[in-house]
């Protein structure tokens, strides 16, 4: 009996050894890039035995807070940290660096029984719907851009996010740029005081509400709408053309910003110039502390970022994310060396 129990204990110790040796890295943050991050981290873990990266998509707000407080090793956010947030983090001893990973689009998805075509939304229509001034689907402001589509005389059910969200920031940043009324009444932030609407948690929650509620509209990251086969509309860009969110239109939106990329990579590309650029596009960033206390973790995180910027970029188009412009990648490679 004794030998059996010793043998079992030995087996247990030996059996868990590989797991003990595995480097576990924890991250949390934006749900906007969550699908590709989860794919990347899974593949990275398979290719690099012994490294396990756990990513929890609890919203950009959660990512910023987690990495500032040190509860996770790195965070992810679609809203770049403000100067105040960076100062707060530095005060806690964590100087954070931004690493753009992909670009994506935030699209207005809708669920209108009987309407299967792509609707065209002007900036005035989107601002009016979310301000609550446009209440019904057959309002003239929406109808004038959608001749030939039978819009019902039903109340619009507006859906927004309940949590601190980078996707919300991208959406409200765009609305603030195109609607002075929105800018003064609501503003741009990851959590705002919404004039109307129902709330859902993360992109998945908003998508769920839109799918369930007839005559609803909600803003989600492109992949959530395309994967769930929910129709999403075209948005009029600054050049006056109605563009649908896609890898190409997002890449074009980033082209201008890529030329003048600031050193800390914090830039907004909403309502970007360009004939075919999609106006509600955004970079999404990894927030990495400059100094990582555990040298083994630091080494792994740096290697992971290099992989993301090279091999990882190839996976983007399949998931409807736009890969980074080449000059941005080379700038980031230099910044990786700053991480210790």
């Amino acid at each position: 009996m004794r030998t059996v129990s010793w043998a079992l204990t030995g087996l247990l110790v030996v059996g868990t050894a590989p797991f003990a040796a595995a480097q576990k890295i924890n991250a949390c943050g934006a749900s906007f890039p969550a699908p590709i991050y989860q794919k990347w981290f899974l593949e990275y873990g398979k290719a690099h035995q012994g490294v396990q990266i756990n990513y929890e998509a609890n919203g950009s707000g959660g990512g910023k807070k987690g990495v500032t407080d040190g509860t996770v090793d790195f965070g992810a956010s679609d809203m770049p940290m403000t100067d105040k947030e960076l100062a707060d983090a530095a005060a806690k001893g964590r100087k954070l660096l931004h690493f753009p990973t992909v670009m994506g689009a935030v699209v207005p998805s809708y669920n209108i029984p009987g309407v299967t075509q792509d609707l065209k939304f002007s900036p005035e229509a989107l601002a009016g719907i979310y301000l609550g001034t446009i209440k019904k689907w057959n309002d003239p402001v929406i109808a004038k851009d959608n001749a030939g589509v039978k819009l019902p005389a039903e109340d619009i059910v507006v859906v927004h996010r309940t949590d601190g969200s980078g996707t919300t920031f991208v959406w409200t940043d765009y609305l603030s740029k195109v609607s002075p009324e929105w800018k003064s009444k609501v503003g741009a932030n990851s959590a705002v005081s919404w004039p109307v609407g129902l709330g859902g948690p993360q992109n998945a929650g908003v998508m769920g509400l839109v799918k369930q509620q007839p005559n609803s509209i909600g803003y989600v990251e492109l992949l959530y709408a395309s994967q769930n086969k929910v129709p999403y509309g075209m948005v009029k860009n600054s050049a006056g053309k109605f563009i649908k969110g896609s890898v190409d239109s997002v890449t074009e939106a980033a082209a201008g910003a890529a030329k003048d990329m600031p050193k800390d990579f914090r830039v907004s590309i909403t309502n970007a110039p360009g004939a075919n650029s999609y106006p509600i596009s955004s970079f999404t960033w990894l927030l990495v502390p400059e100094k990582i206390s555990d040298p083994a973790k630091a080494k792994e995180i740096k290697a992971m970022i290099r992989w993301v910027l090279t091999d990882g970029q190839k996976e983007c188009p399949a998931l409807d994310y736009a890969p980074l412009p080449k000059n941005v990648v080379s700038m980031e490679m230099k910044q990786i060396d700053a991480v210790q």
Binding site: G61, K65, D155, S190, A191, S193, G197, L198, G199, Q213
Partner: protein, 319 residues
């Protein structure tokens, strides 16, 4: 003669005394710890909400603004949502719960009663999230397509049943809470009714009362305290319920008169926003909301106690 007796008594007394003292202190310790935990909870809530209390003042309780950008916060929509959903829940669950408890204790055969009680107590153990998921997939579409339009058609002239039928909102949240509180009410009320002595029933029947008269006029008033206790237990659960409510209430931080409209509750907003509340005032405001909920619970329980004292006949042996 006296000495051996005195010595013997002394020997027998000592061990019993030590055991008693130890037991007394252990039990006292547990009670004190519980009390200390409750007091510490209130102190922590008070300290944690300091930033919000100083910058928002008493206006916090009456303001309807909830703006994390400009750091203006008001608790009114959440207090309103919590009270409305709990009221709807109680209005629906009291008749069903007490009625079912009366049936299970007085009218049903023993085998049926025990089997049904077992199932009902299982219902009480189901986690909140499961109720929320069930509500989203079954209750919300039912409300949106059938029940809410019917209510609007019948009672649309009242301000309580106006506005679009979304399926989510105060009414649906109240319904889900009612489903969650009914098992508690049934379980505890049934126990109280079963505890009424047989003598009381037999005396009533001997005096010529019918079964229903016995039940309603003798047994139920005797078990009144227990039934009231079960209702307040159910209310306590309804006030603090988080996940099921946030899934079906619509998460809209505004006050609406209509029951069909979407709203928010204190527990739901804390669950949704606390994880990422940044800055100093936003988290403090959420903690202050927790303090408000605690206050609401204390007020309701005090009211319940006063009601019990007022309705208990003078000279009755029961407190």
């Amino acid at each position: 003669m006296a000495t051996p007796a005195a010595v013997q008594t002394a020997k027998v007394k000592a061990p019993a005394q030590t055991g008693d003292i130890v037991a007394r202190f252990v039990v006292l310790f547990f009670a004190v710890v519980l009390l200390a935990l409750a007091v510490l909870l209130v102190i922590e809530l008070f300290i944690g909400s300091a930033a919000a209390r100083h910058s928002l003042g008493w206006g916090f309780l009456t303001s309807s603004k909830w703006n994390p950008v400009s750091e203006e916060f008001g608790a009114l929509p959440f207090i309103y949502g919590t009270v409305i959903t709990s009221s709807v829940a109680l209005l629906l669950s009291i008749p069903f719960g007490v009625g079912a408890a009366i049936f299970l204790s007085e009218l049903a055969p023993a085998g049926v009663s025990n089997a049904l009680t077992f199932v009902i107590e299982l219902l009480a153990a189901i986690p909140s999230v499961i109720y929320g998921l069930l509500a989203i997939f079954t209750l919300v579409p039912l409300m949106r397509t059938t029940i809410e339009p019917a209510l609007k058609a019948a009672f649309g002239f009242l301000p309580f049943f106006q506005g679009p039928a979304l399926g989510v909102g105060y009414l649906t949240a109240g319904l889900v809470l009612a489903i969650m509180t009914i098992p508690f009410i049934i379980s505890v009320s049934r126990e109280s009714l079963l505890a009424v002595p047989r003598d009381q029933r037999e005396a009533a029947l001997a005096l010529g009362a019918t079964k229903w008269e016995t039940t309603w006029q003798i047994v139920v008033p005797y078990a009144k305290l227990g039934i009231l206790g079960s209702i307040f237990l159910g209310l306590a659960r309804a006030l603090g319920e988080t996940m099921a409510v946030t899934m079906v209430i619509g998460n809209d931080p505004r006050v609406h008169a209509s029951l069909l409209a979407s709203g928010y509750s204190i527990a739901a907003v804390i669950a949704n926003e606390f994880a990422e509340a940044n800055g100093t005032i936003h988290p403090a405001a959420l903690i202050e909301l927790g303090l408000v909920l605690f206050g609401v619970t204390v007020v309701i329980n005090a009211f319940a106690r006063l009601m019990i004292i007022a309705t208990t006949k003078k000279g009755s042996k029961r407190p």
